[in-house]
Each structure stands twice: as structure tokens, then as C-alpha cells.
């Protein structure tokens, strides 16, 4: 599988105030990316794989 160097990940809040997450702001291979919460998206799949492997923690959204 593809290896990605993910150095940070943080949920972004729902700007509409629905108490949901809208996406994940992540730094992947040195680039800031906004990753949707979509299991068909390869960046999301890799983020969750690294989370499950204990290699990455997604920070909660800013209050």
C-alpha cells in the first residue's frame, strides 16, 4: 500500500454549527490538505489506518 508521511491531523468543526466535523486538516508529505470524511478517499483511508495502528492522533476541532 501507499505510504504517506502524515505529520498532523485535526478535525475541522462544522461552520454551520451542527456539532459535526466537516473535514480533517492534515499535513501530508509536507502539504496542507483538507480531507473529507469519505471512506473512498485515499487520504482519509490512510489517516484512519495510521490512527488504528496507533501512529497518528487526530486532534479535536478548535472550540
Amino acid at each position: 500500500m501507499e505510504q504517506m508521511n502524515i505529520t498532523s491531523a485535526q478535525y475541522l468543526a462544522d461552520p454551520l454549527g451542527n456539532n459535526l466535523h466537516s473535514s480533517i486538516r492534515a499535513t501530508i508529505d509536507g502539504q496542507e490538505l483538507f480531507v473529507p470524511l469519505d471512506p473512498a478517499n485515499r487520504h482519509y483511508v490512510e489517516i484512519m489506518r495510521q490512527v488504528e495502528a496507533g501512529k497518528l492522533t487526530i486532534q479535536e476541532a478548535d472550540a
Binding site: P36, D38, R49
Partner: protein
């Protein structure tokens, strides 16, 4: 010989037209490889050699341990791969999204390859797809072939496995090597063009598609405002409340999945993003803001 091949040769057609395309090649849209002619380069025409899967030049093609760049011959582009400084093989990789109709069927992969640097003793090919997160089905085992300094057509016909693929987010993967050996070929190059994968037992002539057709197919996986040839790449947000604004960018083609989004710059802090397969919405912490040079990525 496939029925499509017979028809392409304009001779010896002994089949009914309504039979064509059932289990072997169709007359058009035969090629399941997108950008097999290397005509679309939204990210630029010169790549760099990275240790992992890198897609930084030709659409739909990853390179591993090699820089993939464009060269032309009679104005027709092709892939020029330069080995990086790695003590392992270098290859390019392509992934097909929807291939379930090929399972259990006879299929044919064909492409043209040459090297100006003396490679060619051990060119290689490998085809697989994932059946779970950690297991894959081998369609065409790693196999070597020989080629030289002029274009050589390589053809493999094989029967696809029947094991169920893992599904969304995983594709049928093609690996094309200039040298399959795990040695350092730093600086040596090989060239590839006209990659085609089709149903049937015979390689038909390469199917040239129009640039617009190929670009639209590529934009299902990647779209860049600048790469698409636009010169208007500032997207102004509209006022959404007294304190923030929302920027909406409609995508030209429905993407494979909700895309990952990046931008060259934002004029205000990003509060949140909602992406559908047709639209990107960016919420910004200012009543007046803009987003510049959007990139949407839904590659496999």
C-alpha cells in the same frame, strides 16, 4: 483473434456486429487505461523521483523511484522515465477504478517501450488488485521481457482471477518496469507510450481519444484550476454571515470520491470544508475572502 481485432483490420469479419463487445473487445472505448497515450498533464510535464508512489506529472500515472516527464515524437507525447538514485527497481503504476466486468475474462495488456540508455534486458510487468487491506490477487505475475532502443510492442494476454476485489478506493494496478532487477540504475531512462488494456485475447490498435475526452476522464480523479488551463483562478467567497464567508467551486466533472482539497492560498483562516463529488465549499473566517488555485484530488 478478437472480433474487435477482425473489424479493426477491416478484413475477415466473420461475426455478427451485435456479438462484438459481449465478452471480448468493443469497437470503441476498448481501452480501460485512462491517459494511456500520455496526452494529459494537469500537474505539469516534468516530475521528480521519490521513494514512494508519486503522481506529479502525467495524469493517472504514479512513478516510484523515477521521474516521469513528457517527451514528444512528431508532436505526440510519451512518458520518459529517469531512474532516481535508489538501489531498487523503478516503475510506473496505473490504477483502474471499475474492473469487475473483467473478472474471469481473458484480457490483453499492450504498450510500447524503448530505452536510449541501454536498458532492455529485463523490462518487467506486474498486474494485481487488492482483495483485502493486506492481500491481493495476482493477475499477471512479475514477468520480464526484452526491448531495445527503438519502440518495441509488448503484449500480455491473461485470464483475470475471480476473487472479489476489496472495493471502493482500490483499483486494478499495473506496474511497468524499465528494469525489473533491484539495482541502482540512477540516471538511466526508458520510454513508454500507447498503454492499452482491453477485453479479449488480442491487442487491437491503440485507441487514440480526443484530448477533451481524455481530460474529462482524468478530471474524475484530479482537477487543478491552473492545470486545466484556466487563467482565472481566484475564487471570491460570498458573505455568509456578519463574520464569515463561503466560497463555492463547482467541479467540471463528477469525481470518483469526495476529493481532498488544497489551495495555493487563502486570504482568511479556513473554518471548515464540505466537499461533495461535484462541489467544494470552503468556509472562511472573514466577511470578505478568496481562495486561489484550488486543487481537488480523488485519485485511487
Amino acid at each position: 483473434m478478437s472480433k474487435a481485432r477482425q473489424l479493426a483490420d477491416l478484413g475477415g469479419v466473420t461475426t455478427r456486429l451485435d456479438e462484438v463487445g459481449n465478452t471480448d473487445g468493443a469497437l470503441s472505448n476498448r481501452n480501460m487505461i485512462i491517459n494511456g497515450g500520455f496526452t494529459v498533464w494537469q500537474r505539469g510535464t516534468s516530475g521528480s523521483a521519490g521513494s514512494g508512489f508519486t503522481m506529479d506529472s502525467a495524469d493517472r500515472w504514479y512513478s516510484v523511484r523515477g521521474a516521469l516527464s513528457q517527451e514528444t515524437e512528431n508532436s505526440m507525447p510519451y512518458a520518459h522515465i529517469t531512474h532516481g538514485n535508489y538501489a531498487d527497481s523503478c516503475y510506473i503504476n496505473h490504477r483502474i477504478e471499475d474492473f469487475t466486468h473483467t473478472l474471469g475474462q481473458q484480457v490483453t495488456l499492450s504498450f510500447k517501450i524503448k530505452s536510449d540508455d541501454g536498458l532492455g534486458a529485463d523490462g518487467g510487468v506486474f498486474v494485481r488488485y487488492y482483495t483485502s487491506s493486506n492481500n491481493y490477487a495476482v493477475c499477471q505475475p512479475q514477468t520480464t521481457f526484452t526491448y531495445g532502443s527503438t519502440w518495441t510492442t509488448i503484449t500480455y494476454t491473461f485470464t483475470m482471477p475471480t476473487t472479489t476485489p476489496k472495493g471502493a478506493g482500490y483499483g486494478l494496478e499495473f506496474f511497468l518496469y524499465g528494469d525489473l532487477n533491484s539495482i541502482n540504475n540512477n540516471g538511466k531512462t526508458f520510454d513508454i507510450k500507447e498503454v492499452q488494456f482491453e477485453l479479449g485475447d488480442t491487442a487491437t490498435p491503440f485507441e487514440h481519444r480526443s484530448y477533451g475526452d481524455e481530460l474529462a476522464r482524468c478530471q474524475r480523479y484530479y482537477w487543478s484550476e491552473t492545470g486545466a488551463g484556466n487563467d482565472l483562478t481566484t475564487n471570491y467567497a460570498t458573505l455568509y454571515s456578519s463574520s464569515y464567508s463561503m466560497c463555492i467551486i463547482d467541479l467540471p466533472v463528477t469525481m470518483r470520491a469526495k476529493p481532498t482539497v488544497s489551495a495555493a492560498s487563502y486570504t482568511s483562516t479556513v473554518l471548515g470544508n464540505y466537499h461533495s463529488r461535484n462541489r467544494v465549499q470552503v468556509y472562511l473566517n472573514s466577511a470578505a475572502a478568496s481562495v486561489n488555485d484550488i486543487v481537488a484530488d480523488a485519485e485511487l
